[in-house]
């Protein structure tokens, strides 16, 4: 049994996290496919897949819930899926709207919130709203108990940690504790709030303050629901059945991010179930001397091509040495040996190339 298979055996939720640009979406798709091949009923929630990957999975943006992925073509790659794979692309705005719908105390409040000019901006533009909706969606799917395991790709934040902070940040924001001081001041806060309110009126005009006041008064009716939701989500993230897969590339900034995120996970008491380094150039343990390599290949390839190959090999080995350093640094900092995925010569563009990635992922 491979290391990854073992690490994921008891998991019902797998969250793939890492810095932007490391190939998180593709790797999470491969993890989901691998689990389906092993016989589990898998839901994959992706955030913003590349067009070709979306096509490979038969995803379209129209549906905000998991749809079956046709795995019949796997047979061409000599694989057979004993389980099933369902996949979806997250629609952040729609998920937020659905949440308001679910939590609103009555239809009138719901309508008024959805129609508020500021609400539209909050559901899409407030920091962390995409992360929050990803978690909300995860919770909703998990709660329905229709799948053995859910694999969640995380939004392309600059920092992976924004994902963990999202529920708190958003509930804090919606609770509007600080804003309440401004909108419904009492006691000692009255005078200060009065000054701030007067200054704001002068700076931004009264219309914006009115819209904000209205929106937060409406949202107050949903607060209990949001708070309960945040507590449930926190419990789900900390559940032993939930595992975080940290994904990095050999770039220094991605390694730094992985180390930092692992520390934050440990601090929060969440469970890490593996570290994956994507796009690693394989290191050749033998000679890196261009002259020796050219001499070795001279007879088979001719002097000109042998020379080009030798030069290329030396250059690629420089990348490989950098990558080996990155992997060693991760091992040193985290204490577990990362799973390395070799750098591919093309993008993942169909189920067959996803199967290749999957094979590497579940190999050792």
């Amino acid at each position: 049994m491979s290391r990854l298979t073992q690490a994921l055996a008891s998991k019902r939720v797998v969250i793939c996290a890492g810095a932007g640009g490391v190939g998180k979406t593709t790797v999470s798709a491969a993890v989901a496919l691998g689990l389906a091949i092993q016989g589990r009923r898998v839901a994959l929630v992706t955030i913003d897949p590349a067009r070709r990957l979306a096509e490979a999975l038969g995803l379209d943006a129209l549906d905000n819930r998991p749809q079956p992925v046709a795995l019949a073509r796997l047979e061409e790659s000599g694989k057979h899926a004993r389980g099933e794979l369902f996949a979806m692309m997250l629609d952040s705005k729609r998920t937020f709207d659905e949440l308001i719908e679910l939590l609103a105390p009555d239809p009138r409040t719901k309508e008024q919130i959805l129609a508020n000019p500021i609400y539209g901006h909050i559901s899409t533009a407030v920091a962390g709203s995409q992360e929050y909706t990803a978690i909300a969606k995860l919770f909703e799917i998990e709660h329905a108990h229709e799948y053995d395991v859910i694999v969640l790709d995380t939004p392309p934040s600059r920092h992976a940690i924004e994902f963990l902070e999202a529920p708190d940040r958003l509930t804090g924001f919606l609770e509007g504790r600080a804003l309440n001081v401004l909108l419904r001041p009492s006691g000692r806060a009255m005078r200060a709030a009065g000054i701030v309110f007067a200054a704001l009126r002068r700076i931004t005009g009264v219309a914006l303050l009115d819209d904000l006041t209205t929106l937060f008064r409406l949202l107050a009716g949903l607060l209990d629901g949001f708070r309960r939701r945040a507590a449930d989500v926190e419990a789900l993230l900390g559940d032993p059945g939930t595992g975080f897969l940290i994904i990095a590339s050999p770039e220094q900034s991605a390694v730094d991010e992985a180390v930092f995120f692992a520390a934050e996970l440990a601090r929060a008491g969440f469970h890490r179930c593996g570290v994956i380094v994507n796009r690693v150039h394989p290191l050749d343990s033998e000679t890196h001397d261009a002259v020796a390599v050219a001499a070795r290949l001279h007879e088979r390839l001719g002097p000109k091509l042998a020379g080009k190959v030798a030069r290329t090999h030396v250059e690629v080995q420089r990348l490989a040495a950098r990558d080996a350093g990155a992997v060693a640094r991760l091992l040193g900092a985290l204490g577990d040996d990362p799973i390395c995925l070799p750098d591919r010569d093309t993008d993942v563009h169909d189920i067959a190339s996803l199967v290749d990635l999957c094979t590497d992922l579940f190999a050792g």
């Binding site: 932007g20 509007g176 150039h281 390839l301 001719g302 080009k308």
Partner: protein, 306 residues
Amino acid sequence: MKVPITKRLIIVAGKGGVGRSTITAALALGATRRGLQTIVAETAGRADVARMLGGSATDALVEVELEPGLHHVSIERQAALEEYLRYEVPGLIGAATLARSTAFQAFVDAAPGMSDLLTIGKVWELIQRPRHKRHARGYDVVILDAPASGQLVGLLAAPRTFAAIARVGPVARQAGTIEHTLRDPQTVGVIAVATPEQMAVSETLALQASLTERFGIELDAVVANRVLPSRFTSDDVLALARAPEDPAVRSARWFAARAKAQRAQLARLRRGVAPTRCTSLPVRFEAALGRDDIERFAELLGAARS
């Protein structure tokens, strides 16, 4: 093609991990070498470009001269808010105290686009001559290391978003002025950085589409970064396919296939952007880029005031 530095504000855009900060550093170095008083601006309190150019992180909004003619500033929301209240709202007493009050903070968090507006507002202030900030020097060119593409569109749209929801008052008025400047192609230019890979090229083309549609501005140039040379002929590729298994042969096969995939993406980029606006920088095989590499990139990009 040489990358033009003819605008007062150059926005360097691109998705995470494509080398945007490196290109920003190279463009800034190039502009300085041509005698322009140059300042690099970074957002969200970052100082990546400053470090690449041998500087270090400083307090937000402090303009530091890294070397003669080359300056750096780190823009951060809170400092920008305090400065805004101090310089742009005449006669407001206790601006700093106000900016730090919990109630005001809550307002900045809640008002959509306010945070982005403060950032882009500061960028706008940097290109003013004379500057609104007292005793601040003027610059010939401001080079902004922009946030990743999606956030960049939000940043540029902030003045409009805010003007639409606030409707009246000084902020709405100033937002209108900033919006007007941002839409002026004589003043603002965008240079996109992409690696020749599917996702990065798609994101660049999507950025171009939203810039044109929403702001009426075009990409001035696209820098394709980390391009592999075309080293192997099609005969070479055939010979490599038949060659015996060897680590060096595997490296060469990988290199040839990757270079081929890159060429397809480069062609897609050129078709989408106009070939005359595209330029490439070669891949460097070093573990970490040093000052020498940035100098070389500056020369290759030949940032010129034409």
